[in-house]
Amino acid sequence: MLSKASTEVAVNIASLYQLKNIKLIPKHPSIISELCNKILDVAPNSIPAKTVDDLSIYLSEISSGQFKTKKDNTKYFVESSHDILMDNYTKEYTDIIASHISFYKDVVNVSVRKLFESTKEALNNYRFKEPEDFFEVTYFKLHDVFQNPTLVFEIQDYEKTTVTVKDNIDLFKDITSEEFDLKEYILTGSEELDTQIISWYSTIEEQKLKSYLIDDVVESSLAIPDLLNYSLINYLFYRSLSLKLNLGSLPKVKLGISAKVNTEFFAKKLNYALNFYNREIKNGQLLTTDSDTYVNFLQDGKTRITVYEENFEKLSEENLNIEVIFGALQILPLRKITVNELIQNKEKYYNQWERSRSLYVVSLNRKKLDAFKYILTLHFTNSLIDLTEAEKENGVEAKKEAIVNEAKKFIDKLEVNDIEKLDEIYLYLVAGLRFGFSDAYKFLRQMDSYLKSDEKMQPSEAALYATIDLLVDFMLDKVDITNLAN
């Protein structure tokens, strides 16, 4: 017996079709024509219903059978065989649909995931540099210790010193000894200054600071950030040594003279470095002198630049970002890259960056797409080596070459933007081509579409809707739809 739920909805839709002159005619022979005929067999020529509500009740009742009247006016019930037929088809289609869904889920979907995982790993091994990856940017900010009034006052005292060469004192063993605590050794006794010294010390590798004390450093090769650190550690060290006279093997008098010479030498050096830094800031320089001056997207390696943070903040105040420097680096000599120049001609440098960036991105995308196509073709072809039982039963073995050719045609047409649609690509290749003998592609694509339409939807709910779609499509295929108005 057709349920009231089914007949109510059916009569409502049928009323709508009536208004639109649509007639549904079951194809013969088919499951739908068989079921409909079982009802029509017992239905009278004239339908005893006058309203839509009556009709839905009548359709439900008549599907189970009908009372008929004998010549002697006694009534008897003629049972419809509709229910038996419906039960049989329900069982048959439940088994078919359940096994199909299991197949889509456990075989086809698993194969889609497998292809996805294998290509994902291969794609991850291909490393592509984005345009911004070609730059290694360090921001340099002068540590507070360099502006400590006590320190600044002290070193200014040595500005006029006549010392031009430092004395060599062999302190290698002392400084590299495990017991020697350099951080402790350089403290001055002034609480405020020492706090800043400790803070500054912690920002630099200790090994580097020690190497500034014991190695032959080519001072001219040091850019301002390093020159400042180099000068300060040496100044603080010899300042302490001249007071403590407790390291090395020299007699104390000789050690005292040499330590004093070196204190003066490094005070002067530190003064010079600080003056240089202040001039750089005043002149609006943005990059330290050791910054790379070239950008080459065609070669490996990076363009390393150190930006004066103090001046970069002036760019930020004008809403300019690091890209304006990237652009300027390509057309300006390093020393011409100043705050004023970049603010005044910002469009020129942004445009330059945008142009070179775009050119690089085009070639990068081409490379990415080629690699993607190559990997996808390789892994899809390999995935056909081990066929599932279902594929063997459906003659996929003999169609392998045709499937691969079809996949190659599809892959060949992919564009860069398609790389973002990996799910759809894998689904088509596996469910649509490899398992093309089934409705897997239709089913899984429908599921995917439902899941995308509602982020909160569970896969099982999407599977339910996709199953309804699959069944309804299958059944509507058994029906001719005619528009009587045509």
């Binding site: 057709l2 349920s3 739920a5 089914s6 007949t7 109510e8 909805v9 059916a10 009569v11 839709i13 049928a14 009323s15 709508l16 079709y17 009536q18 649509i22 007639k23 549904l24 005619i25 079951p26 499951i31 739908i32 409909c36 009802i39 020529n45 004239s46 339908i47 219903a49 006058k50 839509v52 009709l55 009548y58 359709l59 419906m86 329900t90 069982k91 289609y93 439940t94 649909i97 359940a98 869904i101 299991s102 889920k105 569970q458 896969p459 099982s460 709910e461 599977a463 339910l464 809707y465 199953t467 309804i468 779609d469 069944l471 309804v472 499509d473 059944m475 509507l476 029906v479 739809i481």
Partner: protein, 79 residues
């Protein structure tokens, strides 16, 4: 006998009877599709969609409406 009955009716009533017959004919097709699809869906066990049916308030009425909407959109959508 049937012709005599029809002659006794107004034109509007005859048209109504035709409408009812045609609605019945279409409803018969649609109701069978809805019923069979509902039965199959409700019977399916041991796979992904069964959880949704078991754990939610989906019953035959809701299912009938869902299936009906699909049929409606398929046919009116230009099938």
């Amino acid at each position: 006998m049937q012709n005599e009955q029809i002659q006794d009716k107004t034109l509007e009533e005859i048209l109504t009877e035709k409408d009812i017959t045609r609605i019945f004919s279409n409803a018969n097709v649609i109701a069978n599709i809805i019923e069979l699809t509902s039965d199959v869906i409700l019977n399916i066990a041991g796979n992904a969609i069964s959880d949704t049916i078991k754990n939610s308030t989906i019953n035959r009425t809701i299912l009938a409406n869902m299936i009906g909407n699909k049929i409606k959109s398929e046919i009116l959508g230009g099938k």
